[in-house]
């Protein structure tokens, strides 16, 4: 099973986020899962990659060529796929992923997470979408998603497309269930 991680590239964040990222990387490697991520060497992306590698796991980075030229790539990953641009990077990550996990992050992470939800709503991605809500980071996003449902911009059953969990252990629990989205996408997409 290949798990795709979306996460921050910032290093200036609370250490608790880094601890959770390292713990998740360790658990993924020990569970013998293949990990895919955005290829960054720092921030939570870097922490996940470091911990996967320290535990003899496999991790593939997917990074646009301009980021590699800037030297933002993780130097030690098992493999690195060099994409021409950001759009191709996301396509590549989704094409490899059986499940996605969003850790805390900025607008790039948010965009990847919401694209995952959008693709799942349209039946173009069927894997689990797990949000690791360390320190309740995603509280306001879950409120916002609830607002969408309340205002009927999103159907109530769409809320089943993602799982919000507090700890890396719970991430692993959901991954082990490996639920796939069985709703008929075309019917559920009609609002």
């Amino acid at each position: 099973m290949t798990v795709c991680i979306f996460a921050s590239s910032s290093s200036r964040i609370n250490i608790e986020y880094a601890k959770a990222a390292s713990e998740l990387g360790t658990l993924l490697a020990r569970a013998d899962m293949d990990v895919v991520f955005g290829g960054g060497g720092i921030g939570l992306m870097g922490k996940v990659a470091d911990s996967v590698l320290e535990n003899n796991g496999r991790i593939t980075g997917v990074i646009p060529v301009f980021m590699k030229e800037e030297g933002w790539d993780h130097p030690g990953v098992t493999k690195m796929i060099i994409t021409p641009d950001m759009g191709e990077r996301k396509r590549q990550m989704f094409s490899l992923a059986d499940a996605v996990v969003a850790l805390p992050g900025g607008v790039g992470t948010l965009e990847e997470l919401t694209e995952a939800i959008t693709l799942k709503q349209l039946g173009l991605f069927r894997g689990s979408i797990i949000i690791l809500n360390t320190l309740n980071f995603y509280r306001s996003l879950t409120e916002f998603l609830d607002n969408m449902v309340e205002g009927q911009f999103l159907r109530d059953e769409h809320k089943g497309m993602w799982q919000i969990v507090s700890t890396p252990d719970e991430v692993m629990e959901y991954l082990s269930r490996n639920e796939s989205w069985i709703h008929d996408p075309r019917s559920i997409a009609k609002i």
Binding site: V65, I82, P84, E88, S95
Partner: protein
Amino acid sequence: MALAVNDSNFDEVVVKSDKPVMVDFWAEWCGPCRMIAPIMEEISNEFSGRALVVKCDVDNSPGVAAKFGIRNIPTVLYFKEGKVADKQVGAVPKNNFVSKLNALF
């Protein structure tokens, strides 16, 4: 057509070649690798008889990939007289690949 090379025939085909060789390191699950595959075919045809264009699947050829430190894909290595003469990482326009090959003549 771009010939497939692997751990067992790499030395024979690439290192011992008397013509310049482009080796396209790729993998089935790599989107950008699939994007450049048709470019490699074109270059192979255009340089037929003058240079060799080959493909090396990194999953099936761990020995070669490790020997040349291939971690980024797609990576194209240019060989001249059995030695690495140049390198191109990532999916870039055809002209970039061609100009590096032309420089070997």
